[in-house]
Symmetry: C2
Subunit: 441 residues, 2 copies
């Protein structure tokens, strides 16, 4: 077989991930050439500031601030700059020029992936994005290829390492949220502005991408109901442990249904991000620190879990390079990767359609009959109780206030919400201390 | 786009997996057609006995005992019959006739995969085999595609559900091996003849396949050093727990090196199957019952784990169908999956080249100075001690016999073996009770 000419690779962005992509393209060049069937020639790295210092060092001659012309002289364009623009414009330009593209840009894909997928499909080139969800963990390829013969029913993911680290610290050291976030910042696990992580935006973007793949349906970040970890207290974490749970920020995408106006069942998908109590024995409960894991339930396959490093330069670069090899092989040997699969066109159901379990902590008057009143409210809303735990006033700081922790069985979110509202309205209830969902049971 | 004509699918074998493949092809027909871009038409199911009862029921009209002619009128041939022949002959015939093939046959691939890979490559068709390793768990595709841009250093797998179930039962209920195997048989987790599982042959086949993929090197089952679980006692399991470990049958494939005759380092891969003590905090330690998990270490990605059901009709059928969709899509849209990657051609190193840790349990004379003598033997062999645990004679059944549990640091297997031999030869050592490797630390 005659040697295939080198494939020209352009990298957009040279931060934590970009420098590692460049390093691997260089140090692994011989292995990569063998796996692709042609050498990969790095033709340029687009940066905003060509004079900034980079670690590992990137050959100054490769750097350019002219990303527009760089993408037009490449066979494969790797986008690791992040943000919506100029990333989107550059990827569309690369695709129009006939390049295959690899991106790690979850925000862009969750916002406007379909535009990119359609452009790539029309141009007959690949768009791959394994690194956009859960860093090094192969999850995009398994969900859209390995499970293509199965019916996914639910995806539960710990897809944000920063919040997982923060919640871990709160649990292991009894820190409150602010202290734990500061520690994460000091170690480089959290950004100076941690909003995208602690408010769940990052997880919501990944949830949208995973839901799209798993359910063959377009889901954008705007379809994801989102609640971050900012309202969680050290006390919540403590109570999670006492009741045999671990608090995690979960990205959840699952099949569900609602009744339409005519009383007919409408099947759809529900996608949400929120903190949840995970039973200590569940595989997700032991995912520690900055690790990520995605738990998938499918009808035939049963329960699957994918675990690994969800962020960081090297792990993310590993996922990017795997995609580079795939798209480069297609250019050498022919063929094309999967295109957007949205044939199912399931409606995205509102947050109130989710079926979940609640753990409700209450401060109540310390007198007989209180539990009976609360239980009656639950029964009236058709919500059944799994467990109740009472602490008498003697064990609480205030003499006349008892504590009640109620865990429900599975019920629709709307029923649970109205139950909590009704409970809060009872005379004997002084305060609803916290309401947390229980998932993964 | 004009509708693509149906793709003809033939299934070879209609046992536990085959019936589920047929069921999914039928019940999921509409989803599969949407994902492939063409309907999948089941043209026949080859069986030995067309009159046997099957659950779920398979349409009698589809059954044929003439597998030879069936494979020649199919676009995609699914082989789930197992065994070397006639599976090999039928797959080669299918490939020669231009069909793409999907197989779950680990024994065949571990023995003679290269013949099949070469035939498929020459014929320009796909051969996919996700179901051959760890059932429903996507591991073949992630290792050969997602990690194609990285350098895998080690694979540690719990890839045999039967032995994992047996070891779990021994640990949780204090059963001895025979009792636990009988329970597994009663529940259908172990075959009437459990040899392939308990002697590690099944795990060795999977180890060979994983090693080939991870290290881009041909590894056959004959290259795998293999030790089953048959020598393990209830006491071994108990001591594992006491020292903070869990006993697992592991399939291990890792990079290593040996010195050649001239004293030069030769890099290679070492592949083995043996019981091992896994630290209780390691992600593999919590893999329970009939579940499987594969832990992968790669230079850039770091630690990854893939977890799920490793056997059973439905989980295996899920993996098979995922492959069917992939190869069918290639027939509709063009392109071809990865071919055998063996460019690295690393030598397969002998078992003695492995670097591991030992936990050695001894019965020794109960008198001062014994530990010093044993420690001196370890030092003389350049093996350093991580931990020692002594039980004085007062805590053992025999008055003058003390127990010693020594855990080493990592050392070459050959050094560890000769150390154990030398220890066994000491006057003060009454008996070497057990020698187990410690992995995953």
């Amino acid at each position: 077989m005659p040697a295939h000419p080198p494939l020209r690779v352009a990298v957009l962005g040279c931060g934590v991930v970009g420098t590692q992509v460049v390093r691997l393209l260089t140090t692994q060049a011989s292995d990569l050439a063998s796996r692709v069937g042609a050498p990969l020639e790095l033709v340029g790295v687009a940066v905003r500031d060509a004079d900034a210092e980079r670690d590992p060092v990137v050959d100054r001659a490769l750097l350019t601030t002219d990303a527009e012309s760089l993408v037009e002289r490449a066979d494969v364009v790797v986008e690791v700059m992040g943000g919506l623009e100029p990333a989107r414009g550059l990827l569309l330009r690369a695709i129009a020029a006939g390049a295959s593209v690899v991106t790690a840009n979850k925000a862009l894909l969750a916002q406007d992936g379909p535009t990119l997928y359609a452009a790539a499909d029309e141009a007959g080139v690949d768009i791959y994005f394994e690194a956009a969800v859960a860093g090094a963990i192969p999850i995009v390829r398994p969900v859209r290829e390995s499970l293509a013969g199965d019916r996914v029913t639910r995806v539960l993911g710990i897809v944000n390492g920063t919040t997982n680290y923060v919640l871990d610290k709160m649990a292991s050291e009894g820190l409150d949220l602010d202290q734990a976030v500061k520690e994460a910042q000091a170690l480089g696990y959290a950004e100076a502005d941690p909003t995208a992580d602690v408010e769940g935006y990052d997880a919501a973007a990944k949830a949208a991408i995973l839901a799209s793949l798993a359910f063959h349906t377009r889901v954008s970040i705007d379809d994801v109901s989102r609640e971050g970890i900012t309202s969680l207290t050290a006390d919540d974490v403590l109570w999670a442990q006492r009741t045999g749970h671990v608090l995690k920020l979960l990205a959840i995408a699952e099949r569900g249904s609602v009744e339409d106006a005519d009383g007919a069942r409408v099947e759809g998908v529900q996608v949400r991000v929120h903190p949840a109590l995970v039973p200590a024995g569940h595989p997700l409960a032991s995912v520690r620190g900055a690790f990520n894991a995605v738990f998938v339930e499918a009808e035939a396959a049963g329960e699957l879990m994918f675990y690994g490093r969800g962020a960081g330069g090297e792990p993310t670069a590993s996922a990017v390079l795997g995609d580079v090899v795939s798209v480069a092989r297609h250019r050498v040997l022919g063929g094309k990767g999967p295109v957007e699969s949205r044939y199912a066109e399931l409606p995205v159901l509102p947050a109130t359609a989710a079926r979940t379990r609640y753990q409700v902590r209450l401060e109540v008057a310390d007198r007989p009959g209180v539990l009976a009143q609360v239980a009656a409210v639950l029964a009236a809303h058709d919500v059944s109780i799994e467990a109740v735990r009472q602490s008498p006033a003697s064990q609480t700081p205030e003499a006349d206030v008892a504590r009640l922790v109620i865990t429900t069985h599975v019920a629709p979110e709307h029923a649970l919400r109205s139950t909590v509202d009704a409970i809060a309205g009872l005379d004997v209830v002084r305060r609803v201390v916290s309401v947390l969902r229980v998932e993964g049971a």
